[in-house]
């Protein structure tokens, strides 16, 4: 589903190139659950942003579902956002002025899904995440874990084929983190959604089936996780 070939990213500062990513070549198949690990400043977020087309690589090839991303027009990219990619952020990034239900509805509006279907889909996710009672609350009336659940619900409601999550549990306590990780695993195994997460926690990384370790912008390790559970 994702093909990276020789991806490089650097910032030029006063004639000096400082590399963030170097020679990143890898591929991610449909249905994988990949955890990206590495020390702070290694380039994990940059890589994820490039995969999410939020940033452009300085050099290299990137194919998403067989299409060349670097040659893509803005419109096509937005179409991918609407139909294939779901984002989950460490800081949740819910829209403060919208209720839980409205936050979840937002991506469906951009997909131009008719009102009746929107309603039933929102009802479905709310039900699944046990948040029906909270649907008319605003984000600041929820706990961090609940907010992140809404963030994931928002990513899921558009039925994406891949979820990109940058430290989704970074701001959460461990019980809440476990709940999120379980959810990711279930989504991956039962619905076949490809998941790519950045995490600092060994434990969280174990939920997936593959771990990419990045150091100084280079992929140091690429191992698959043995299933002990």
């Amino acid at each position: 589903m994702i093909e990276l070939k020789n991806i490089e990213k650097y910032y030029a500062n006063k004639g000096v190139k400082s590399y963030i990513l170097r020679h990143v070549t890898t591929s991610i198949k449909q249905g994988e659950f990949v955890s990206i690990m590495g020390p702070s400043g290694a380039g994990k977020s940059t890589l994820l942003n490039i995969l999410g087309m939020l940033e452009e690589p300085t050099y290299g090839e990137y194919h998403f579902m067989g299409e060349d991303v670097t040659a893509m027009k803005e419109r096509q990219r937005i179409e991918l956002y609407r139909n294939h990619i779901g984002f989950v952020f460490q800081a949740y990034h819910l829209i403060d002025e919208m209720t839980v239900a409205e936050n979840i509805e937002a991506p469906l509006l951009y997909k131009k899904i008719p009102g009746s279907e929107r309603k039933s889909r929102i009802a479905d996710v709310l039900d699944r995440f046990n948040m029906v009672a909270k649907k008319d609350l605003f984000p600041n009336q929820l706990s961090g874990g609940q907010q992140q659940l809404v963030g994931i619900a928002r990513a899921l409601v558009a039925q994406p084929s891949i979820i990109l999550a940058d430290e989704p549990t970074g701001n959460l306590q461990s019980t809440q983190a476990e709940q999120i990780m379980d959810l990711f695993k279930k989504l991956n195994q039962e619905e076949g959604i490809t998941i790519l997460q950045v995490t600092h926690s060994e434990k969280n990384a174990q939920y997936g089936n593959r771990i990419l370790t990045i150091e100084d912008g280079v992929i140091k390790e690429d191992i698959s996780v043995e299933k002990q559970m």
Binding site: H93, A106, Y110
Partner: protein, 806 residues
């Protein structure tokens, strides 16, 4: 989607109530000034558009110097009456030609049965063709024959109701008295016309047909000036027609001047005069006054002011919306990764601007309704909003304004927002995702330039007005009244009021503040020709005015010569003629009459300060012709002259029961001359206050955001040991640079503008310095105050609170 965006917009407005109020309120104020102006412009441009047939109606204008304020030639609305006859014969395109003379003085006295007489203004005397030219709608009477017979009168419906209490007045009679000793004409009402829905340049309350307009003066040497209007068969090319009109006019003038014993060449060519006759579509008459500038030129400063005010409020809007956009950055970033097109985001924010503009517009409409009476009063026009005949066009103008303001105010913030880079924003890195600081600073500077210029303007105008109000006019204006009537020597009424105890002088002059009539006269002195202004006075006029003698003497009864050929010069005339003039003689008039100068007086102001006093000769004698212009000056010798006026009025009523006595104090006439510039100042003061308040509100809100945005920085600085005062100073500094640079730019702008305004006055102050200093000081002080208010709040906060949230 629209519904959701609307909800978000409203939630945001409620969350930031103060800013929303500043934004919407500011916009509403700016819009109110603009909409009032719009109503005024609509009204002023609505003249003579009340019937489609008016497009075939034209006014004839002759170029001449009779009855002009400065004795120079102008394109005048009154033409020599014989021209009407000539046009009827020579120009086949004119279907009807009518003569209509506007009433003069204070109006005519109308007496119905035994009722008290009432003064009615704007009674126009016409020949029988008036209603063939002007398509007035008759609601009673026969429009074809109404004013065929002499001594008939057609009333406007409103006037009929006002005079008779009903508009069923055909056949009723009223007596028209034109001056105090006039016996009056008994007129029969033969028609009532509907009041047109929009304004007329030839505004009348009644049209009379006395018969005086039917004929021209018998003697070829006499002229009669009257308004001439024509109705064309079909559309005319005025350019082409005016050429043949000029030819006809020149031929006519040649014949006339020859009959008067002179020649065309002598009258025009040798004296460098220009002959001219043209027609003007009636729709252009109001916007083309003969002497003054037209209404558009007159209200230019006000147009500029209200546009500036609108700009200031739009700037506030843009500034606040852009500053506030930091709070919306996350929303934009998230929406982008959810798949929103940029266009959708721009539309969303434009819609938010539209909501606020619309709210502002509703407030504006309420404000306009509230302010309209005062505004109409101030400008002396009858404006209406809901009841206006132009409501439809006003509404479409408002709609256009709504779109324009929405785009002006909303487009830039919307673009800024929609341009946010989601990665940067979502990383929490707002600052770098946040552009337009330079532009916002620029806008604050622009706002302050306007505000400071306004303040300087007030200062300069205040000084000039003060100067004019306290300037020595060269005559004594208190204890002096002017009764509006003619005065012939030996008049029994005048003799009777002279006997009233506190009356000191009774006199007449053609030149007094409030009613000045200038006639040009050519004189020959030392074989040199001079053009001067000639004023006819009675013996007591100069003492009554209290003029100051420079050399020689003024008129007095002891000198029999004064009724024969004495003249008094004013200083300007003396300067023109030379030195040591007392006792010298000059000649004037076709018969070379000899006049002797007996004295020189100080120039005295008799018109507004925009005009320099003309070189003038004063004479009592009728030698060389005289004029008489409805001024009867009465000077009292003590301050308690109110009872004396009562006595005069009683005396008047006894002798002239059919004509009410009308008088003004010369002090009031003087205040009336000051009024236009006082009025302008009042408006500038009002606009300045609003613009300064708006600018400060903008600055207040902007500094709030600035302080908020720098909360973390402030907290860290405090932990590092900065004092509150240092923090306040730090925040003030960035704004102070803006305010000071705005001041530096304002100075030359204000200087040029006020200088130009001052140049409109013949009597003016030198450019004062202190308004500049005060404006700068004021703007700096209030800016520091406003910013400090916010900065202090930010500075005294506990730094721990600020950092905890990060």
């Amino acid at each position: 989607m629209f519904k959701l965006n609307l909800k978000i917009a409203l939630r945001n407005l409620f969350k930031n109530k103060v800013y929303a109020a500043i934004n919407i309120g500011g916009l509403a104020i700016g819009l109110t000034a603009f909409v009032l102006l719009l109503l005024f412009v609509n009204h002023e441009s609505s003249y003579d558009k009340w019937s489609p047939e008016l497009k075939n109606v034209y006014q004839v204008r002759e170029y001449h110097d009779f009855f002009t304020p400065d004795n120079k030639a102008y394109w005048q609305q009154r033409s020599e009456s014989r021209i009407a006859t000539v046009l009827k014969e020579k120009i086949p395109q004119f279907k009807y030609v009518t003569k209509a003379s506007e009433g003069w003085g204070d109006g005519y006295s109308v007496k119905i049965d035994r009722n008290n007489p009432v003064i009615v203004k704007d009674i126009v005397d016409a020949d029988s063709l008036f209603f063939k030219v002007f398509p007035y709608e008759f609601i009673d009477g026969d429009e074809l024959t109404a004013i065929n017979a002499p001594n008939t009168i057609v009333l406007k419906q409103s006037v009929a109701i006002q005079l008779f209490g009903t508009d069923k007045v055909i056949g009723r009679q009223l007596k028209l008295v034109r001056w105090r000793s006039d016996e009056g004409n008994l007129m029969t009402v033969t028609g009532v016309v509907k009041d047109p829905s929009t304004a007329e340049s030839l505004a009348f309350n009644a049209i009379t047909h006395t018969g005086e307009r039917d004929t021209d003066p018998d003697q070829i040497s006499n002229s009669n000036y009257t308004g001439i209007y024509v109705r064309a068969e079909k559309f005319l090319d005025t350019n082409v027609l005016n050429k043949s009109l000029l030819n006809v006019y020149v031929d006519y003038k040649k014949a006339l001047l020859k009959a008067r014993g002179t020649t065309y060449n002598e009258f025009y060519k040798e004296k460098n005069r220009k002959a001219g006759l043209k027609i003007l579509p009636i729709s252009e008459v109001y916007s083309t006054p003969s002497f003054s500038e037209n209404w558009l030129a007159k209200i230019k400063p006000i147009i500029a002011l209200s546009i500036f005010l609108l700009i200031i409020s739009v700037i506030n809007f843009v500034n606040l919306a852009t500053a506030q956009s930091v709070q919306r950055a996350k929303e934009v970033g998230v929406k982008k990764v959810l798949g929103a097109y940029k266009k959708q985001l721009v539309l969303q924010f434009l819609m938010e601007a539209a909501i606020q503009t619309l709210t502002a517009l509703f407030i504006t409409i309420i404000l306009v309704e509230l302010l309209l009476p005062a505004f109409s009063n101030h400008f002396n026009v009858q404006l209406s909003f809901w009841h206006s005949d132009q409501l439809l066009s006003i509404i479409s103008q408002l709609f256009g304004l709504f779109i324009l303001i929405t785009l002006l105010a909303g487009f830039y913030p919307a673009m800024v927002l929609a341009k946010y880079n989601p990665v940067k924003v979502l990383k929490g890195n707002y600052e770098s995702g946040f552009g337009g600081i330079a532009l916002r600073n620029g806008l604050v500077v622009l706002q302050f330039i306007i505000a400071v210029t306004f303040i300087i303007g007030i200062g300069v105008m205040y000084k000039q007005n003060h100067y004019m109000a306290s300037k020595d006019l060269g005559f004594d204006r208190d204890k002096l009244i002017n009764i509006s009537t003619n005065y012939e020597t030996g008049d029994s009424f005048v003799e009777s009021i002279k006997r009233i105890p506190s009356v000191k002088y009774v006199a007449t002059t053609t030149q007094v503040m409030g009613n000045t009539f200038n006639t040009s006269r050519e004189l020959t002195f030392n074989n040199q020709k001079f053009d001067v202004n000639a004023v006819t006075v009675t013996m007591d006029a100069l003492p009554a005015l209290g003029v100051k003698v420079v050399t020689g003497r003024i008129f007095a009864k002891e000198y029999a010569q004064d009724t024969i050929n004495s003249v008094v010069l004013n200083q300007s005339a003396a300067n023109l003629l030379g030195k040591n003039l007392v006792g010298k003689t000059f000649t004037s008039g076709p018969k070379n009459d000899v006049f002797q100068v007996v004295g020189v007086i100080k120039d005295y102001n008799n018109e507004s300060f925009e005009k320099a006093v003309l070189p003038t000769i004063y004479k009592v004698t009728h030698l060389g012709g005289s004029s008489n212009t409805n001024n009867l000056l009465v000077r009292f010798d003590n301050d308690h002259y109110q009872s004396a006026i009562k006595t005069i009025e009683a005396e008047w009523k006894k002798v002239y029961p059919d004509f009410p006595m009308i008088y003004t104090s010369v002090e009031d006439a003087f205040l009336k001359e000051l009024k236009p510039s006082l009025r302008l100042m009042q408006i500038v003061v009002l606009f300045s206050i609003i613009s300064v308040v708006l600018s400060l509100l903008g600055l207040f809100a902007l500094s709030t955001f600035m302080a908020k945005r720098r909360t973390k920085e402030i907290a860290i600085r405090k932990i590092l040991g900065a004092s509150d005062l240092q923090i306040i100073n730090m925040l003030n500094k960035s704004f102070m640079i803006l305010v000071v640079s705005a001041n530096l730019i304002s100075w030359p702008i204000a200087f040029i503008l006020t200088k130009k305004w001052l140049e409109g006055f013949a009597y003016r102050i030198d450019m004062p310095f202190w308004p500049f200093a005060i404006a700068t000081l004021t703007s700096v002080i209030i800016a520091v105050f406003t910013v400090s208010l916010q900065a202090r709040k930010a500075a005294v906060n506990n730094p721990v609170d600020a950092l905890k949230y990060e």
